[in-house]
Amino acid sequence: MNEHLLELRGISKSFSGVEVLHEVSFTLHPGEVHALLGENGAGKSTLVKIITGVHQPDKGEILLGGEPVHFSDARDSRQAGIAAIYQELSLFPDLDVAENIFAGRQPVTLGGRVDWRKLYAEAGKLLDSLGVKLDLKQKARTLSIAQQQMVEIARAFSINAQILIMDEPTSSLTLHEVDDLFRLVRRLRAEGTAIIFISHRLEELLALADRVTVLRDGSYVATHPMKEVTRFGLIRMMVGRTITDLFPKQDVTPGEVVLKVENLTRAGSFYKVSFELRRGEILGLAGLVGAGRTNVARAIFGVELPTAGRIQVEGREVRITSPQQAIELGLAYVPEDRQLHGLIPAMHITSNISLPMLAHYARMGWLRDTRERKSAYEAACQMDVRANSIWQLARELSGGNQQKVVLAKWLSTQPRILILDEPTRGIDVGTKAALHALMSKLAAEGIAILMISSELPEILGMSDRVIVMREGRVTGAFSRAEATQEKIISAATQDVATIGITL
C-alpha cells in the first residue's frame, strides 16, 4: 500500500537526557494539507527537524514512498524532495528575487559563469506557474514578509519538492496576505504536493487542512480528518483538558483617563493619532501589520520620538524621550518581538526580570543579590513561569514561558499603564488563555492596558474599546458592544486597492 508519501513510525528523540519526542507516528498523503498541532514545546519543531534531517531520531524509522530512508542532514532531505519553510525566513537580503530562488544552484554557462538570462527566464517561468507576481529584480530586503515567503516557496519548488513543510507561515501576515498564501497552498495541493502546515491559529487550520495530527508533551495524541473535529475538540486534545473560557474578560467600570494622546504624529509612520485610555480599561488597537500601531507604542514609550502632538500621563503633559523616563511615569511596554526587544536570551531569568528595576535592588550602585533574587523569584512565581530554576537562561525556555518572563519583568515595575504589543503571538493555547486571564485581572486591579493585536478574536474578546489604524491613521473607534469582525476589517482595509496588497 503506497498511499503514504511519508510515514514516520515510533520516532523518539532525546536531548541531553530529556525526551522531547516519544514514539510519535505520522503519515502524509500526496495532495493533502496536514496540520501539525500542539502547544509550544509539544515537539512539533523537533519532529519537523527530524523529517528534514536536521536531527536524527534515536528510535523509529522514516519511510518515504514506502522505502526506509535515512537523512543525515538537511541537504539529504532536500534531495529527496522535502522542503521546509521556517518561521525565520532565510533569504539573502541583498540578492534579488530570482537570485534567491536559485541561490547556490545558479544555471551556469559553459565558461563557468552564471547564466543570467537563463536564471531570470526560469525564475519567471516558475513564478508564473505558481501564479505569483513578483518583480524578479527586486532585492529581498525590500520585500514584505509575505512576498519573502512566496520566494521561499518558489525556491522549494525549483527543486521539485514533493513535500512542503510550513512552520507558522501566517504568524506575521495580514489578513489579505494570508488569503493569498492559502490560495497558493490550495493550488499546490491540487497539483499533488503534500503540505505539512504548522499554525497556532485554529480557524486557519479548520479552513485549510485536510487532516490534523495533534502532539502533546512529545507524544502522539491522535490524527483526524479535519471535517470530523471542532475547534474545542482540538483544544482539548492539545492541552489535555477543556478550556472553557478562552477570553475571560471581566467587566470593569473604567476610571479616570490616565493616558491621553492628542494628534500624535511621527512623519513617515503615523499621523494625528488621538485616543484616551482609562484606568481599568483594555483598549484594543487593531489594524494590519505595518499600519503604524507599533510605531505609536514606541513613540509613547520614548523609543521613537514623535514629531508633533501631545501626550498626557495622569493629567500631566509630558514629553517622553527615553524608555527610562517612560518607566518612571508608570508605563511599561511589552514589545512585539520578544527575541529582539523583550528578552536577553543569553542571560538568566533573574537578570531578565530585574533589569528595569536594578536601581531598586542596589545601594550606591552595589547590587544586593538577595533582594534581586527574591523579587525575581516572586515575579516568576506570580507569572507561573515554568523553568528549572530562576537561573535558567531565557533562551532555553519555550515561547510562552519567555513571554511570561517578559511580563514578569514589566509587572515588577508596577506599571499603571501597560502597553502590550502582540502579547500572545506564537504562543500556545493554554498559555494564551492564562495570559488573557492575567490581562483581565490586571485591568480589574486598575491598570490601563493598550493592547495591540493582529488577531481579531483576541481584539474582540479582550477589549473594552477598539480603535483601528490604517496607513498610520486612526480609521475607526468602536465600543465593545459595537465592535464586530466586519467593522474592524473594513476600517483596517478601506479601499484595499490603494494599499497594494497585490503580490
Binding site: 530529556v18 536577553i344 547590587l367 515554568r386
Partner: protein, 374 residues
C-alpha cells in the same frame, strides 16, 4: 540557527533557588588558564634556575602593567560593544608626550601629569560620544582617533625625547612599595583590577555592561541609559590609557612620541585570551588578569632562555588562535550529539596551525645555537 531543545520542565519553580556560588561564575576557561600557568611555571623552573628568583620576577612584572591597566577597561568595551578601542596606545602616546612637552616647558611634573590624565580622559570622552551619540562603529571611530592621537604626540615632541623626570615621579614606574619587592605599578594594577572586577561583577553598571553586550535593544527598552554607559566606558578607557602613559614614561624615565606603539593589539590579545568573548556579552576580570599573568610568565621565561621578542610574539599569537579554536571545537563536539561536526574545516584549521608550528620549530631549531649563544 540552532535552537536548544526546549527544556521540558512541566513543574513550576518550586524552590527558592540557592545563591549561586562564585565558582559557578568561574567558568571553565579560567581553570584552563590556571592550568596553563602551572605548566609554564613548572616547565620554566626546570629550564632555567633564574625563573623563580623573586628579584627577577619583581623586575619583569612591572613590564606588563601598562598593558594590564589598559586591558581592564578594554574588557568592558569588548563585552559591551563586541568591538574594541583601537586608540588606547595612541592615546597613551599622546598623553605621555603632552606631559613631557609641558615638563620641558617648565611646568611642574605633577601638574603636567594631571593635565595628561585630563587630556586622556577627554580623548576617551570624544571616542565615547562619537560611538554612542552618533552611533558610529567603535572600530571605525577608534581607528580614526588611533591615527589622530598618535599624530598629536608627534606634533608635540617632533623627534625629541622629553627626559629628566624627577625621582619622585619615576617612582611610579620604577619604584617598589617600601620594605617589599612589589613594584608600585603592580600594586596600582592589583588595586585597580579588584575595583574593576567588583564593578563588572557586583554592580548595576557591570550588569548593564553584560546586558548591553547580549542584547542592546532589549536593554534599551528596559530603560537602561545605553548611550551613557558606553560614553562612560570609553571615557574610563581614555583615563586608563593616560594613566598607563604616566607609568610607562616613569618606567622609561623619558618620553618619545612613539612611546607604546603597537600596544593596543597586545591589550586586545590579553583580554581575548582571558576569555572575553569578542562577540560581546561574556567575560570576567579574573580571566583577563590570569591571561595577563600567563602572557607575562611566558614572555619572562622565553626571555630568560634568550628567545627573541619576535619569536615570543609568534608563541603568544599561536596561543591566542588556539584559545579561540579549542573552545569552539570543544563546543561543537559537546553539542554535536547527532549533528555532524564540521571535521573538515576543523582539520584544515588545525593543519594550517600545524604548518605554522612546524615552521616555527624549524626556525627555532636552526637558529637555536645562535639564539642560545652557543
Amino acid at each position: 540557527m540552532t535552537q536548544t531543545p526546549e527544556t521540558q520542565s512541566a513543574s513550576l519553580i518550586k524552590e527558592f533557588a540557592p545563591r549561586r556560588s562564585f565558582l559557578a561564575d568561574f567558568q571553565r576557561w579560567e581553570w584552563l588558564l590556571v592550568l596553563l600557568i602551572v605548566v609554564v611555571i613548572v616547565a620554566n623552573t626546570r629550564l632555567s634556575p633564574h625563573f623563580l628568583d623573586a628579584r627577577n620576577i619583581s623586575r619583569t612584572s612591572s613590564d606588563f602593567m601598562e598593558l594590564g591597566l589598559m586591558m581592564l577597561p578594554m574588557a568592558f568595551i569588548i563585552i559591551t560593544t563586541a568591538s574594541v578601542d583601537l586608540s588606547v596606545a595612541s592615546n597613551l602616546g599622546m598623553c605621555a608626550s603632552f606631559m613631557g612637552w609641558l615638563f620641558m616647558h617648565g611646568v611642574n611634573i605633577w601638574v603636567a601629569a594631571l593635565a595628561a590624565l585630563a587630556l586622556g580622559t577627554l580623548a576617551g570622552f570624544l571616542n565615547g560620544n562619537l560611538v554612542a551619540r552618533l552611533k558610529l562603529s567603535p572600530l571605525v571611530v577608534t581607528l580614526g582617533t588611533y591615527a589622530f592621537y598618535r599624530g598629536v604626540a608627534y606634533v608635540l615632541l617632533g623627534d625629541q625625547a622629553a627626559r629628566g623626570y624627577p625621582k619622585a615621579f619615576t617612582y611610579i614606574g620604577q619604584g617598589r612599595i617600601p620594605g617589599t619587592l612589589i613594584p608600585f605599578s603592580v600594586a596600582l594594577f592589583v588595586v585597580l583590577a579588584i575595583i574593576f572586577g567588583l564593578i563588572l561583577h557586583r554592580t548595576i553598571f557591570g550588569r548593564y555592561t553584560f546586558s548591553i553586550g547580549n542584547n542592546e535593544n532589549a536593554t534599551l527598552y528596559s530603560g537602561v541609559p545605553v548611550a551613557r554607559v558606553k560614553i562612560i566606558l570609553f571615557t574610563v578607557s581614555g583615563f586608563m590609557a593616560a594613566l598607563a602613559g604616566l607609568v610607562l614614561a616613569a618606567r622609561f624615565g623619558s618620553t618619545r612620541p612613539d612611546i607604546g606603539t603597537g600596544l593596543e593589539l597586545a591589550v586586545i590579545t590579553a583580554a581575548v585570551l582571558g576569555g572575553v568573548d569578542i562577540n560581546g556579552g561574556r567575560g570576567t576580570i579574573v580571566g583577563t588578569v590570569l591571561s595577563l599573568l600567563l602572557i607575562g610568565l611566558m614572555r619572562f621565561g622565553m626571555g630568560l632562555l634568550n628567545i627573541q621578542g619576535q619569536v615570543q610574539g609568534i608563541v603568544i599569537g599561536l596561543l591566542l588562535i588556539l584559545s579561540i579554536l579549542l573552545p569552539n571545537i570543544a563546543q561543537q563536539i559537546s553539542s554535536a550529539r547527532g549533528v555532524r561536526i564540521n571535521w573538515r574545516s576543523a582539520l584544515i584549521s588545525l593543519g594550517i596551525l600545524a604548518v605554522f608550528v612546524l615552521f616555527f620549530l624549524f626556525f627555532f631549531w636552526s637558529r637555536a645555537p645562535v639564539i642560545a649563544g652557543g
